[in-house]
């Protein structure tokens, strides 16, 4: 129980950057979505760790909200991916490039 707070933060940062790595390298929309979830959860780790650190529950409660919002985001995201697939017959996020410049 006495892991130093730095490591929690570093963990969350690592997670955050892993998520980011996914976003930057994966072209599949679903992977993209999942990566975003990882990043959100990285924030949750922080929140919970800091809640403990500060001894109040604010962070913990906020983490709950974050999860709910993540779910909502995924719902909308999947809807968009659905119409994306219907239109482009692909879920590769790099395919839709009809608008640029």
């Amino acid at each position: 129980m006495s892991v130093a707070i730095e490591y929690y933060v570093l963990l969350s940062m690592a997670l955050f950057c892993i998520g980011l790595f996914g976003i930057l390298t994966r072209r599949n929309a679903l992977m993209f979505l999942m990566s975003v979830e990882i990043m959100l959860n990285a924030a949750n780790i922080n929140l919970i760790a800091f809640a403990f650190y500060h001894g109040n529950l604010t962070g913990q409660v906020f983490a709950l909200f974050t999860m709910a919002l993540a779910a909502a985001e995924v719902a909308v995201g999947l809807g968009i991916i659905l119409v994306l697939y219907r239109n482009f017959r692909d879920v590769d996020v790099t395919v839709p490039t009809t608008m640029r410049w």
Binding site: L20, I23, L24, V93, T94, T97, T98, M99, R100, W101
Partner: protein, 679 residues
């Protein structure tokens, strides 16, 4: 009589009214506007004569009044008052009164002549013609009685406008508009210096009055006496500079070298116009201006000498060119230039009376010659080439005899008017020249010019009237009416007798008081009288005599008369034959030079078209490419930048994420380093 002066403005306003009437209603009037013009100039003539009488009979002998303040304001002048007023005023002193009479008389005669020359010949656009004449007469008269330099300048410019309009009267041809443009442009070039002069004088002395205690002439004299520094120059130097600047306008208007080139071209206008404007009056404006502010020139020996030298040179220079012309009007044009050179010479050597005297005489005989030439042109069905004339002597005696009278006057044959005035000028030049080598050179040129004058004058007379008719037109001349003969006769008489006005040699030889003009010019406003000028000139020029005064007079008169006769004699010998030939081959290469007017036109045209125009085109190209190119370049560069910037948006969302993260990292690093987050 004094109350009469209240009507002085009307002298100029009559022709102005004629101008308005002719312009507005000319088309609906009988004679298309000639009648109002004749009435108005007649009125002006009558009033001018009345003024002459009033000046002669009045106690003060002059009239000077400020009519109207054009503009006033504060301006610090070098010396003089803190404020300045630009006004319109009338100054009628003996000089102005004389000139008023000359101008209104000739204008009146030209109007009458025009009935025969223009109306009867079925010209179109006559209202325009009479309006132009009216406006010209107005401007010229107003110029003459202007009491200050600015007003003089303004009407000086306006006569230039009228000259432009009237030269270009036959605007449907190619040559007339071109000549009109040239006339205005060349005189404008002179006026440019004139205007600088006006402004410099105003800025220096805070006044532009010609006469009176607050005149700039008086102020200049005071400044010279006080050894003031004006604009960093000694007062006399500055007076010289400003006087020469004003002289620029004079040189332009009076067609002196090197701005004489417009006058021969100006012969594209109707001959009546040439008579009125380009011989008798407007061209005289320059000389008149010098006479008007003679006191100012008299303050500067340098300026006077330059006036004299320019005059002498022009007299000779133009006379030589007059010898080879074929067009009767061209001959007259060069003779005009030459004669104004004499006047300048006269004024420049201090012969104030002589200059004014010649101005008057020349006005009469040159107007006569031009009108005579106009009559000839009518006779010849608008043929102007002398080589196609001949033998008109018997068919048009009135024209012939009046023309000969004018020619004798022009050539300076005793006792015609021209002799007296020209002789006086040469005499004045000689006596000064004996002490001043430069003036002597000017005198020499003037003297040589007498020979050429005699030659070209009689070459013209003989070619035109003598010998056998050399064309069909000459064999069957067109008749001329009373409206032509009447002015010719009037002027013919004047050309013969006008010399009586100032028989200075007679006075000098016999002591008989026949110098009416001199005594006339002795009157007037203090400081503008001949007496005052004589005093001033005493400081400027020393005079010398060859032997006694009488011998000098005789030598001078004899020399010029001999030269005039020999010139006339040569012409007699060469051209008073039934079938005259050109004799040009005798001149060899000189002929080409003369024929080309010493290439004066060429270099001036080159200045305008060979130098200025390419320069302007270069400036234009510079403007289009460099200056405007810079403006457009900024816009092009912006749009190019825009095109690059928008390429960042590749359309691939992963790239966006990458760029976004990049941006974020950059921001983080910048702020982190600045905020010390990494240490």
């Amino acid at each position: 009589m004094e109350g009469l002066f209240d009507y002085a403005p009307a002298i100029a306003l009559f022709p102005l009214a004629a101008f308005v009437i002719a312009l507005a209603f000319g088309n609906y009037l009988p004679k298309k506007g000639a009648i109002p013009g004749i009435v108005a100039t007649g009125g002006s003539l009558a009033l001018s004569l009345a003024m002459l009488a009033a000046v002669a009979g009045g106690e003060e002998g002059y009239y000077h009044d400020t009519l109207y303040t054009w503009a006033a304001g504060d301006a610090a002048s070098e010396v003089g008052p803190e404020g300045i007023e630009f006004t319109f005023g009338i100054l009628i002193d003996p000089l102005a009164a004389l000139m008023l009479v000359i101008v209104s008389l000739i204008s009146f005669l030209v109007h009458v002549f025009s009935l025969g020359y223009m109306n009867d010949e079925g010209e179109t656009g006559l209202p325009r013609y009479y309006a132009g004449l009216g406006l010209f007469t107005f401007s010229m008269l107003a110029f003459v009685y202007a009491d200050n330099l600015l007003m003089a300048f303004m009407f000086f410019e306006l006569v230039g406008l009228c000259s432009f309009l009237l030269i270009g009267f036959w605007f449907r041809t190619r040559s007339a508009p071109s000549a009109a443009k040239k006339a205005f442009l060349v005189t404008r070039f002179g006026d440019y210096f004139f205007l600088i002069g006006v402004i410099a004088i105003a800025a220096t002395f805070g006044t532009l009055q010609f006469a009176g205690n607050d005149s700039f002439i008086a102020a200049a004299e005071a400044a010279i006496d006080g050894n003031e520094q004006l604009f960093g120059f000694g007062a006399e130097t500055w007076v010289t500079i400003t006087a020469l600047l004003v002289l620029g306008g004079v040189v332009g208007k009076s067609a002196q070298f090197p701005l004489h080139t417009w006058l021969p071209d100006a012969m594209e206008g109707p001959t009546t116009v040439s008579a009125l404007i380009h011989a008798a009056t407007m061209v005289a404006a320059g000389v008149y201006l010098v006479a008007r502010m003679f006191g100012y020139y008299a303050l500067s020996p340098t300026a006077l000498a330059i006036v004299a030298f320019v005059g002498g040179f022009t007299a000779l220079f133009a006379a030589t060119m007059g010898c080879v012309k074929d067009d009767v009007k061209q001959v007259l044009a060069y003779s005009t230039i030459s004669q104004y050179g004499y006047m300048m010479l006269g004024l420049g050597v201090g012969g104030y009376v002589a200059g004014v005297f010649h101005l008057m005489n020349h006005a009469f005989f040159k107007a006569l010659l031009f009108l005579g030439a106009g009559a000839v042109i009518i006779l010849m069905h608008h043929e102007q080439n002398m080589w196609k004339m001949g033998g008109l002597k018997d068919k048009a005696p009135v024209t012939y005899w009046t023309f000969v009278a004018g020619a004798l006057a022009l050539a300076g044959i005793i006792p015609f008017s021209g002799f007296w005035s020209k002789d006086e000028i040469l005499y004045d030049a000689l006596i000064v020249g004996l002490e001043e080598p430069l003036i002597l050179a000017a005198y020499a040129m003037g003297l040589v010019a007498v020979f050429f004058t005699g030659f070209y004058t009689f070459r013209m007379v003989f070619l035109t009237f003598h010998g056998k008719p050399r064309s069909e037109a000459a064999e069957d001349p067109h008749g001329v009416g009373w409206s032509i003969k009447l002015p010719l006769l009037t002027l013919g008489v004047l050309a013969v007798v006008a010399g009586i006005a100032n028989l200075a040699p007679v006075y000098k030889l016999t002591g008989i008081e026949l110098t009416f003009l001199e005594s006339w010019l002795e009157g007037g406003l203090e400081g503008t009288t001949y007496v005052a000028y004589t005093e001033l000139l005493g400081d400027v020029y020393d005079t010398g005599f060859i032997g006694t005064e009488s011998t000098t007079v005789l030598i001078a008169a004899g020399l010029s008369l001999a030269l005039a006769f020999s010139g006339a004699g040569v012409a007699w010998k060469l051209y008073n034959v039934p079938e005259p030939v050109r004799h040009t081959e005798k001149l060899g290469g000189a002929y080409d030079v003369l024929r080309s007017n010493y290439y004066q036109d060429e270099y001036q045209v080159w200045l305008a078209e060979g130098l200025t125009l390419p320069l302007a085109r270069a400036a234009d190209r510079f403007d289009q490419t460099v200056i405007d190119g810079t403006v457009d370049g900024v816009s092009t560069a912006s749009l190019f930048g825009s095109d690059r910037v928008k390429r960042i948006q590749t359309g691939i969302v992963t790239n966006y994420a990458a760029l976004l993260v990049t941006g974020f990292i950059v921001l983080l690093i910048v702020l982190g380093i600045l905020g010390g987050w990494f240490v």
